[in-house]
């Protein structure tokens, strides 16, 4: 610091002004391409075609078709989030606490990084090639075990198929997030509990799970939001045969269905609200979880 600048208020220093130029592009960018577009949607959801304030658009959300689309979306997101949490937790527990060789752990973590980013269109193709009508596993089951998957009502373009596909990025995401939390369970906690007479079950019930709880619930919320906003996988997999909220919105924007932009606003707004709630829970619990970790 130069001594001459000390007497000036911080905001007036020439250097400070220069620094504002360093961050200004960011704020301009965020405003134009993130905040204004979102605000536009939010405001649009409460306006009619004439620009007057109304709740009519939100009311349209409760039409049976839209409502069912949202319900399917919520069910799908919740199911894949819960299953993703459970299976991801088991895998993460296996590689952190399960006494497995170190290289395997690293391989699984790297793979999780890849798989959690391998979403969208290619993932859908991979699952069609595997569980589609002529898919690898479908054929395998038919020829080797005599099981007719599609004869039993299964279809990759169904709710179940979509859930199976979503799990492919949900589980690895859980592994990536929960592994550090499991690593944070210190060996001494378990040993201290044991030396105080606790069984393994008592240790998990009284110490490990309560410590992990915020992380687990937080990740659940994140996985929910993650599945809820996924569009490309669903479209590439099912076309528009399965009516879930993002696909309905996609069709609205494309103008494929009824050209009512304000219904689009309302659907988009509802999606923001749902994912914002989920993410809010995540961030809140995350902060709570970090309170214990120095």
């Amino acid at each position: 610091m130069t001594t001459s600048a000390v007497s000036l208020p911080a905001s007036l220093r020439p250097r400070q002004v220069l620094s504002w130029f360093g961050v200004a592009p960011f704020f301009l960018f965020a405003l134009l391409f993130l905040i204004l577009p979102t605000l536009n949607i939010v405001v649009g959801a409460f306006r009619n075609a004439q620009g007057q304030a109304t709740l009519e658009n939100l009311g349209k959300l409760f039409s049976p078709s839209i409502q069912s689309a949202f319900w399917i979306s919520i069910e799908l997101s919740l199911l894949t989030a819960v299953l993703g949490c459970i299976f991801g937790f088991l895998i993460a527990a296996a590689i952190t606490l399960g006494d497995l060789p170190r290289p395997l752990r690293n391989a699984i973590l790297t793979f999780s990084g890849v798989a959690s980013n391998f979403a969208g269109v290619p993932l859908a193709f991979a699952f069609i090639a595997t569980l589609g009508r002529l898919g690898f596993v479908t054929m395998l089951l038919r020829h080797w075990f005599g099981i007719n998957l599609y004869g039993s009502g299964f279809s990759i373009v169904s709710f179940l198929g979509l859930a199976l596909t979503y799990l492919y990025f949900q589980i690895p995401l859980m592994v990536l997030i929960i592994t550090p939390a499991l690593d944070g369970l210190r060996r001494e906690w378990r040993e201290a509990a044991e030396s105080l007479g606790a069984s393994g079950f008592q240790y998990w019930r009284l110490v490990a799970l309560p410590v992990l709880w915020p992380s687990l619930l937080g990740t659940l919320a994140l996985l929910f939001a993650n599945a809820f906003g996924a569009v490309a996988t669903a479209i590439a997999l099912t076309g528009s045969s399965l009516s879930i909220a993002p696909i309905v919105l996609f069709a609205q924007i494309r103008g494929d269905v009824l050209n009512d932009p304000h219904l689009g606003y309302a659907i988009a707004f509802a999606m923001i609200v749902l994912t914002a709630i989920a993410n809010g829970i995540y961030i809140l619990l995350r902060m709570r979880a970090e309170r214990w970790v120095k």
Binding site: R186, E191, A192, S195, L196, G197, L206, V207, R291, W292
Partner: protein, 352 residues
Amino acid sequence: MAFLDIQHLEKSFGAMHVVKDFNLGVEKGEFVSFLGPSGCGKTTVLRMVAGFETPTSGAIRIDGQDMTCLPANRRNIGMVFQAYALFPNLTVEENIGFGLKVAGEGKVAIRSRVGEMLELIGLRQLGSRYPFQLSGGQQQRVALARALAPRPQVLLLDEPLSALDAKIRISLREEIRRIQRDLGITTIFVTHDQEEALSMSDRVVVMHQGIADQVATPFEIYNRPTTRFVAQFVGTLNLLEANVVDAAAGKVLLGEVPVSLNRPLPGRTGERISLAARPEIVTLGRSDGDHVVLAGRIADVHFLGSVIRIRVAVEGGHLSLDTFNQPDRPPPSLGTPVEVSVSHRDLLVLAA
């Protein structure tokens, strides 16, 4: 048989033989320290006593009962860890009450015992805090209370002070010892800090490469070390290489200077041995009687306040000696020729 009896304990991790034929008997109410550098096996022995490691062979008995294969949660042993290891999701009170709770004790009994423990460690007003709201010293005191609450047969302390600041370390040292005496609990204390081991313990086990080199009182360990490792690891030591001239008569040659020790030596004539002396038994100037007197020059002077440590270059090496500070006598300047004296009796003889 001693209260805690460890016999022929061995432990290997793969090809690493970390504990070799470890034997120890600890009396009821005794405070024993395991002292040694990191990797000497002291923590491994402690963890085997606690039940976190299974011995490769050997036996551990407490009060006559064989513990060797008992799981940790059925041994009734209290353990305090280096990094506190308090349960972060539980309050101080819940932490202390944990052992009682898992044992299925009633709420009232738990509450009164927890209160007693809080009183003991002097943290009565902090019972409802969470561990992250406490200082390191407070956390370690809570950990101690937690370990003691279920009235364990034996208390194990695994370097409990090494994560703390120097000042707190000393005050907690005294507190641990006080509590241990009050409760009369049999205690094993693992440390790499010789000052801790010497000041706190009834007996010290100095460990080196998986072997217990010497088991004795702090006084013995310091003044009569039996191995070269113990002598060097505990306290500061002057070592001078010498050749035995006459083993029976105790005559050796320090470089060119003949020195008579006036007692028979273990080595044979012509062998090399080491002569060792603590800095505080070496004096500046010529002392008559049973003293070995060596000539040398002042090589270095460290003024440490109450003590002045002087290094003197003599035949066969360097000698460090401590003198007390005296306001009217400034330390000698470098290069001054001096004579130093060591009593025959206090000069230790160690195998080279």
